[in-house]
Symmetry: C2
Subunit: 109 residues, 2 copies
DNA sequence: TGCATACATAAGTGATTGCTTATATAATAA
DNA sequence: TTATTATATAAGCAATCACTTATGTATGCA
């Protein structure tokens, strides 16, 4: 891995919002609409973060009907490093379960 | 470690120039003037990169006369992660030895 | 067919980045 | 003392950032 590649990978991960996204994805695959609820952010903001993470190779998308299901790319060269970083982070307050409890869970998977 | 802390640490390391600096420091402690030669950059540019790395806790400074000797901070909470990242990077082309060969090595340590 | 849903993209904006040049500071050398 | 060396800091600037609002696109449903 060269310096430019590592810079691009790390830069994409070095953002509080995107680290939260990756933390959620380390548990289960999710779609954009769930993240807008979990992170309380606009849909375009989430969408743009996803694009950055995808360009860096951290996540994969799977189109299913009108949903796009996002998941961690376990084949990323730095996947193990990412995993150990994510393991150091606390569990987010909002969970998919809390969305269900609030009746805000969408049926995308 | 919380999300903001990790973001700040990773952001400081997520730069090609600063990763090169860290790679050099993983071998030996060095001063600014050596980096200006090794990286072919201006002194203020290097100085500002050092400040960022120091603020993130990645490096330590030791003032010795008019020199400032910089070294990796092995007590950083993410030191092991950093080490494994640096180990994946190729050795830089320019080395302290090549500086000596060119007669550009300074006597700072 | 028409409308709602899920998402992507584009343009605009204020904040941050990484450099530059210029200058300040502090230690040593002459 | 004066000059030189090593470094830090400040101001300025173009590029990039993360958001916003507005709009486009594709799917599924009535």
């Amino acid at each position: 891995m060269d310096y430019k590649q590592m810079e691009q990978s790390l830069k994409a991960a070095s953002d509080e919002t995107r680290m939260l996204i990756l933390k959620y994805l380390s548990k289960e695959a999710l779609c954009i609409c769930e993240f807008t609820e979990l992170l309380d952010m606009s849909q375009p903001a989430i969408s743009q973060h996803m694009r950055k993470l995808k360009q860096a190779g951290w996540i994969c998308e799977e189109k299913r009907g009108r949903w796009t299901i996002w998941s961690l790319n376990e084949k990323h060269e730095l996947f193990e490093v990412l995993s150990s970083l994510l393991a150091m982070l606390p569990e987010p307050e909002r969970t998919v379960e809390s969305l269900i409890a609030e009746g805000k869970k969408v049926n995308c998977n």
